[in-house]
C-alpha cells in the first residue's frame, strides 16, 4: 500500500485554497485595521497616563498577551453562545445562539488579539521619537496636532511598518485557528474536499503553499514600504 501523491488533486486543492484567500484577508486585514484603531487608542491612553483607565488597559494587555489565541477565540465563542441564549429569552429577543456567525466571532476575537499587540507597536513607535523632536516642534510654534502629523508620525512610521508587517503575518497564520471554531477558511475548505478521498496530505500541502505565498507577499510589500519611507535616515556623517 505505497503512497501515491495525487498531483491533480493537489492542484485542485490549490485552486480551492486560492478561492478562500478573501476569507483569510477578511480574518487578517480587517482585524489589523480594527486593531490599529483600538491599539492606537490604548497606546495614547497609556502614554498620556489617563488615571485609572491606563492601569486597567495595561493589565488587560498583559493578561491577553499571555493567553493563546485559541483560548481567546474559544472562550469568546462559548461565552457569546451561552450569553445570547441566556439573555435573549429574558428580553423577548428573537435571537438564538444559532444566529451568531462563526466568522463574525472570529473577526471580533482576532481584532481584540490584534489590538493588544498593535497597542504595543504604536507605543514603541511613538516612544522611538526622541523628546527633542516634540520640543523643537513646540518651539517653532506648532500645536499638538500639527506636531503629530508633520513631525512625530513621519518619524514613527519607519519603526512601525516592519512591526505592522510581522503582525499582519501573525494574523494571517492566526486566522487558521478560526478553523477550530468552525469558520470555513482555507484549512477547513481544503479539508472538506479531502474528506471523501482521504487525500489529506495534498490538502494540507496546498493550504501551506498558499499561506506561505501570502506571508512572502506581505514581507515583500513591507520591504518596499520600508525603503520608501525612511530615505531621510540614511547615510552621511553624524
Amino acid at each position: 500500500m505505497g503512497f501515491q501523491f495525487d498531483s491533480a488533486f493537489f492542484v485542485y486543492e490549490l485552486i480551492v485554497a486560492i478561492k478562500y484567500i478573501p476569507v483569510v484577508l477578511l480574518l487578517s486585514v480587517v482585524p489589523l485595521a480594527v486593531g490599529m484603531i483600538l491599539g492606537s487608542a490604548i497606546a495614547v491612553v497609556r502614554l498620556f497616563k489617563v488615571r485609572g483607565l491606563a492601569q486597567f488597559l495595561a493589565a488587560l494587555v498583559i493578561f491577553l498577551r499571555g493567553v493563546p489565541l485559541l483560548l481567546q477565540l474559544t472562550i469568546l465563542y462559548l461565552a457569546l453562545h451561552l450569553g445570547v441564549d441566556a439573555v435573549a429569552p429574558k428580553y423577548g429577543l428573537a435571537l438564538s445562539s444559532k444566529d451568531i456567525s462563526y466568522t463574525l466571532v472570529a473577526v471580533i476575537g482576532l481584532s481584540i488579539h490584534a489590538a493588544v499587540y498593535l497597542s504595543e507597536v504604536v507605543r514603541t513607535a511613538l516612544q522611538s521619537v526622541p523628546s527633542g523632536q516634540y520640543e523643537a516642534a513646540y518651539s517653532v510654534g506648532m500645536n499638538s496636532r500639527e506636531m503629530l502629523y508633520r513631525i512625530i508620525l513621519p518619524q514613527a512610521l519607519p519603526v512601525a511598518i516592519p512591526l505592522l508587517g510581522s503582525n499582519l503575518i501573525g494574523l494571517i497564520k492566526g486566522s487558521a485557528i478560526a478553523s477550530l471554531i468552525s469558520v470555513v477558511e482555507i484549512v477547513n475548505a481544503t479539508l472538506f474536499e479531502a474528506n471523501s478521498n482521504y487525500k489529506f496530505l495534498e490538502a494540507y500541502l496546498a493550504a501551506a503553499l498558499i499561506y506561505w505565498a501570502l506571508c512572502v507577499l506581505v514581507e515583500r510589500i513591507v520591504a518596499v514600504l520600508e525603503a520608501r519611507v525612511s530615505v531621510y535616515g540614511k547615510g552621511g556623517v553624524v
Binding site: 526622541p130 527633542g132 523632536q133 520640543e135 523643537a136 516642534a137 513646540y138 518651539s139 517653532v140 510654534g141 506648532m142 500645536n143 500639527e146 508633520r150 513631525i151 513621519p154 518619524q155 530615505v231 531621510y232 535616515g233 540614511k234 547615510g235 552621511g236 556623517v237 553624524v238
Partner: protein, 250 residues
C-alpha cells in the same frame, strides 16, 4: 521687551527656580552663566513653556501670562513670540535642512509656501549652508546641524531667541563656526538670551551677563563688571573655576 517677574519652579520637592526677576530690552544680548544644576536650562525652557513654571509672570512682546492660570492658547502665542536653539540641535529628522526652516513658517506662521521658501533660502545662506539645503540632518555634521538650528530660529523672526548651550555638544573645532554665526546675529540687533560657558563670547558680544546659582540670580551687569570685577563671592569662585589662571585678567 521681555519681563520675568518672581518666577518659581519645582521638580517634586526640589525648588529649581526660586523667584527669578529679569528684564531684557529689545536688541539686548543677555548671557546667563552659572554652575551646573543652577537652573539655567529650566529658566529658558520656562520662557517658552516647554517647562511649566509654578508661579510668576512672563511678558514677551505683547503677550503677558501669569504662570498659575495659563491657557493653551496663551502658550501657543508665547511660543510664536520666541524661538529656541537646542543643545542637541533637535532638527526635525524627517525634514531636510531647508524644510526644517520652512516648517515653522508654513505651519505656525501660516505663511505662503513661496514666501517661506524665499525666507528659508535667505537664512540658510546667512548661516553658510546654501549648498546643503537638501541634506537631511543625519547627513550634516554637528556644527552644520546647529547652524540650521539657528537659521530655523532666525527665520521665525521672534521677539527673542533662546540659546541653551548651543556649542557644548560640538567638537572643539566646530565651535568656532557656530559662534561666528551667533556673533553675526547679535550684531544685527536681535534679542537673544544665551546660556553658554563660552566666556569669550560673553565678553565680546553680551550687553549684559547674568550669573545664576542655586535657582536665583546672584548678580548681573555689563560683561566687564561681572567678569572682571565680580562683587559676589559665589561669582568669583565660579569664574575662578572656569577661567584658567592666566586668563583671569581677560
Amino acid at each position: 521687551m521681555i519681563e520675568i517677574k518672581d518666577l518659581h519652579k519645582s521638580f517634586g520637592e526640589q525648588e529649581v527656580l526660586k523667584g527669578i526677576n529679569l528684564k531684557v530690552e529689545k536688541g539686548e544680548v543677555v548671557v546667563i552663566l552659572g554652575p551646573s544644576g543652577s537652573g539655567k536650562t529650566t529658566l529658558l525652557r520656562s520662557l517658552n513653556f516647554l517647562e511649566r513654571a509654578d508661579k510668576g509672570e512672563i511678558t514677551i512682546g505683547n503677550v503677558q501670562v501669569n504662570c498659575k492660570h495659563v491657557t493653551q492658547k496663551k502658550i501657543l502665542e508665547i511660543r510664536r513670540n520666541t524661538a529656541m536653539v537646542f543643545q542637541l540641535y533637535n532638527l526635525f529628522k524627517n525634514k531636510t535642512a531647508l524644510e526644517n526652516i520652512m516648517e515653522g513658517l508654513i505651519v505656525a506662521r501660516k505663511m505662503a509656501k513661496e514666501e517661506a521658501l524665499k525666507i528659508s533660502h535667505y537664512y540658510l545662506e546667512k548661516v553658510g549652508l546654501k549648498e546643503r539645503a537638501d541634506a537631511y540632518p543625519s547627513q550634516l555634521s554637528g556644527g552644520q546641524q546647529q547652524r540650521v538650528g539657528i537659521a530655523r530660529a532666525l527665520a521665525l523672526n521672534p521677539e527673542v531667541i533662546l540659546f541653551d548651550e548651543p556649542t557644548s555638544a560640538l567638537d572643539p573645532e566646530l565651535v568656532g563656526e557656530v559662534l561666528s554665526v551667533m556673533r553675526k546675529v547679535a550684531k544685527e540687533g536681535r534679542t537673544m538670551i544665551v546660556v553658554t560657558h563660552e566666556i569669550s563670547f560673553a565678553r565680546d558680544i553680551a550687553s549684559r551677563v547674568v550669573f545664576m546659582d542655586g535657582g536665583v540670580i546672584v548678580e548681573q551687569g555689563r560683561p566687564e563688571e561681572v567678569l572682571l570685577r565680580p562683587k559676589e563671592e559665589r561669582t568669583k569662585k565660579f569664574l575662578k573655576r572656569i577661567l584658567p589662571a592666566a586668563d583671569y585678567s581677560i
